[in-house]
């Protein structure tokens, strides 16, 4: 019965180790390059791999959409705080204009692109983490933690965090509905207004998340979590041929990225 769910999609069927290797590879790629085009390519490749699994990811894009004003602030800040000499390429060093006549606070193309890079990194990280948590049973993660002899406290933190996600998502939906039902407008004027408009969501969300975290830890203790340093393993999952192919692919992508970055300065601004 524990195997049935894992065959839900090909992503569910992958071994937790394979997923972790892919996760690490994605992180290597997005932090190796600073040119947003390279990271965007990685993001699109990832998206193309995830798409056929038809995971319910609509909520992520709604969340990202609602954070757009914050993203714009980040890009603007990055644009003005990155000096031309920080960049190695001509395009990166190019200055659109300066905020003051004496040349202070130049708006650089490199700064703008760094801001965009930062944003794409956030989106890719959120997406990767979400897909990992959606397709990996908590048991697999705990088994893996046991396998690598991870400290017990770390296992608790990770398993609580993962358990927290669906419960918190549910809370968030209920809070949204409760606020909208009494006429809350979640669109404000300007960036500051937009942030303020979310106060009625954020405050109950924070209060509820604190309560939720406390209740979850009580529940885990109630169910004996931590009674021993291991848990009964409910399946004998072994790496399959597909897992080895995925791991090799991920390792290859990482290696090529690092080589390209060092040898040819690829993806550098």
């Amino acid at each position: 019965m524990f195997e049935e769910k894992n065959s839900a999609t090909y992503l569910h069927a992958l071994h937790v180790v394979s997923k972790l290797v892919v996760f690490i590879a994605v992180m290597v790629v997005i932090f190796t390059f600073s040119n947003p085009m390279y990271i965007l390519a990685m993001g699109l490749l990832l998206f193309a791999l995830i798409l056929p699994a038809r995971l319910p990811l609509a909520g992520v894009f709604t969340l990202i959409k609602s954070l757009l004003p914050v993203f714009v602030i980040i890009i603007v800040m990055s644009c003005f705080t990155s000096q031309p000499d920080r960049f190695q390429t001509g395009i990166g060093q190019h200055v659109f204009f300066t905020l003051f006549r004496d040349g202070r606070f130049p708006a650089t193309v490199g700064g703008l692109l760094i801001g965009v890079t930062f944003l794409i990194r956030i989106v890719v990280m959120v997406l990767t983490t979400l897909v990992f948590t959606m397709t990996t049973p908590i048991d697999d993660i705990i088994d893996f933690m046991n396998l690598i002899h991870a400290p017990y406290e770390l296992s608790i933190v990770i398993s609580t965090a993962i358990t927290f996600i669906p419960a918190m998502t549910n809370k968030k939906n209920l809070i949204f509905q409760a606020q909208r039902a009494r006429g809350t407008k979640l669109k404000g004027k300007g960036m500051f207004g937009q942030l303020m408009a979310f106060t009625p969501i954020m405050i109950p969300l924070i209060i509820n998340s604190i309560l939720l975290a406390e209740n979850l830890s009580i529940s885990m203790l109630n169910r004996g979590y931590g009674a021993s340093r291991a848990m009964t393993s409910m399946r004998d999952r072994k790496m399959t041929k597909s897992d080895y192919i995925v791991c090799c692919g991920a390792a290859l992508v990482s290696a090529v990225s690092i080589y390209g970055r060092i040898r040819y300065k690829a993806g550098v601004l």
Partner: protein, 585 residues
């Protein structure tokens, strides 16, 4: 039964506890014990210390929730103050109120397995335990189902199964059935009763629903202000209307009838019935073959057909994104002045239907019009001044720093001028008895008061229609009466009420019209007394009629020609019949 003897499975002596920041003791000098295999129920008003007491039994207090604790607690021979929660949890299984936060697995079977796995129970045995625990709570067949897709009631049953799979010697439950329909509640308590009898598990449960536990519990402990205010046989407690009232506990409906007969000097206090069978026997004896003399039928309380439709639903269907059909072919009109109760088992589609009234959900088929507005083409914020929606959990909407600001928030959203806003807030705070708390931080107040703030903030918008979704969950009897009296006053003043509830006594007492839902469709729609009398269809919808309706139906052969929904009225009819006949004789 509970006694202070040495054989006790649970033994608490002189327990006092105060939370770190609390000035007063949450628990004061509690002494109790429970024998193996017995079923003890703890009742009391909100804030009486019931949950705190339960959490002391497996060490959550003071190990996780800190505070100052004195006294002795022994569970299954272990000193609860000397062992880790994980060690105590092997013997003491604790099921808390909020099922949502007790689910720790992605699938049902993963969740049930979580407990035994922590104690390194062999895999094969865990699989057997999963089957057994899920069968006990009627969730067999759900093993591979994602826990995200379970209804509230199913989650509550899963939370119990998760603890049962750990095979505890003592099962401690904090309002384990608060979100369940009547049949679901009955099933859970039957399961609990069987566990107590067959497996000799000691059960300690906190419960507000008096009827569910009365015939099952061996012992009752009533807490008030953190101390034991009464203990003994539950029947002795519920026979005394004074005790029940004094402790703020919900009375047994046929007990109210019995108390009426007792007040009229027709039966002695010890003969006050507490079940329909007992009430029937008592009345049979009293009437001794005579007939009930009926008074004229009360006029219909429902609004006339000529009154305008505020909500008009045509062929409504809703299919969720995951492909689950929640509603199909729903046709319903809500007239101005209706007090409509939406009932049905968990997952019948009640909340899904109600969320279409203010556009929180859009129809995937058919149409919904509210006050002439097509909901499918509107957003919730556009409908907020026409239809108010009070959610079950007030903490999902409260965010302001004072009660005043919280109520003002909705009014600012609709752009009301300052003067009008002030006068509306003053009016609604007075109406809801929150005026003296207007400067308090909402989170410094109790659950009942926060629920009242949630209602007040919606009322300030002066909607024509008010939807209340399980408005009494988690409230004690006094809180329930307070909120229901408020809703009744609103209805009397012209607000149309749509109430979603599992509490059949509330339906009987307050709703003028009742709609029964089953599998996403309307099964019954009519005047409350007629709907509640249709026991056959109610059974199809897995709904149990309230005790007073059941009793009324049993009295038909004695000439009771209509369903009486008010216990005191029924008591008076019986008493009048007996006394009239005696007088004539």
């Amino acid at each position: 039964m509970i006694s202070e003897n040495v054989e006790a499975e649970v033994d608490v002596k002189n327990l006092c506890f105060s939370y770190v920041k609390g000035d007063e003791n949450t628990l004061s000098n509690i002494t109790l014990s429970a024998e193996k295999g017995k079923f003890t129920v703890i009742m009391g008003h909100t804030g009486a210390g019931k949950t705190t007491l339960l959490m002391c039994l497996n060490g959550i207090i003071p190990q996780l929730l800190n505070g100052s604790l004195t006294g002795d607690i022994s569970v299954s021979g272990l000193n609860a103050l000397q062992y880790r929660v994980q060690t105590l949890s092997k013997s003491v299984g604790l099921v808390l109120q909020d099922a949502e936060t007790q689910i720790l697995g992605r699938t049902v079977s993963e969740d049930v397995a979580f407990g035994p796995r922590n104690y390194l129970v062999p895999r094969e045995e865990i699989l057997e335990r999963i089957n057994e625990a899920l069968s006990r709570v009627r969730l067999n067949g759900y093993e591979s189902r994602s826990t995200d897709n379970l209804s509230g009631g199913e989650k509550q049953r899963l939370a119990i199964a998760g603890v049962l799979a750990m095979k505890p010697k003592i099962l401690v439950l904090d309002e384990p059935t608060s979100e369940l329909d009547p049949l679901g509640r009955d099933e859970i308590y039957t399961t609990i009763e069987n566990l107590s009898k067959e497996s000799e598990i000691t059960i300690i449960a906190v419960e507000h629903a008096s009827q569910d536990i009365l015939q099952r519990a061996d012992h009752l402990i009533v807490l008030s202000q953190g101390a034991v205010s009464w203990r003994g046989n539950p029947r002795d407690f519920f026979k005394s209307s004074a005790l029940v009232e004094e402790n703020g506990i919900k009375p047994i409906p046929v007990g109210i009838v019995g108390n009426r007969l007792c007040e009229r000097g027709l039966i002695p206090p010890e003969r006050i019935p507490l079940s329909v069978d007992e009430a029937f026997d008592t009345v049979t004896d009293l009437l001794s073959g005579r007939q009930i003399i009926m008074t004229s039928e009360a006029p219909s309380v429902r609004p006339k057909e000529t009154q305008s439709n505020l909500v008009s639903i045509k062929n409504l269907g809703h299919v969720y994104e995951n492909g689950k059909t929640a509603l199909h072919e729903v046709n319903l009109d809500v007239r101005e002045g209706d007090f409509l109760a939406l009932i049905g088992q968990n997952g019948a589609g009640k909340t899904t239907l109600a969320k279409h009234f203010n556009s929180l959900l859009k129809p995937t088929q058919g149409s919904v019009h509210v006050c002439g507005i097509n909901v499918g083409e509107s957003e919730p914020e556009e409908l907020a001044s026409h239809i108010g929606y009070v959610f079950q959990n007030p903490d999902h909407q409260i965010f302001s720093q004072s009660v005043w600001k919280e109520v003002a928030f909705g009014l600012k959203n609709i752009g009301l001028p300052e003067n009008e806003m002030r006068s509306r807030i003053e009016r609604v705070l007075n109406f809801t008895h929150l005026w003296n708390l207007r400067d308090e931080h909402p989170f410094s107040l109790g659950k009942g008061e926060r629920q009242m703030i949630a209602v007040a903030s919606i009322l300030a918008l002066e909607p024509k229609i008010l939807v209340v979704d399980e408005p009494t969950t988690g409230l004690d009897w006094r809180g329930i009466r307070r909120i229901m009296d408020l809703i009744k006053t609103l209805h009397d003043n012209g607000t149309t009420i749509i109430m979603i509830t599992h509490d059949m006594d509330l339906v009987a007492h307050y709703a003028t019209r009742t709609v029964v839902m089953r599998h996403g469709a309307v099964l019954l729609d009519g005047e409350t007394r007629d709907v509640l009398a249709d026991t056959e269809k109610l059974r199809d919808a897995y709904v149990t009629p309230p005790q007073i309706v059941d009793f009324s139906l049993r009295l038909k052969p004695f000439g009771l020609n209509r369903i009486i929904l008010d216990e005191k009225e029924l008591g008076d009819i019986i008493a009048n019949s007996v006394q009239e006949e005696s007088h004539n004789v």
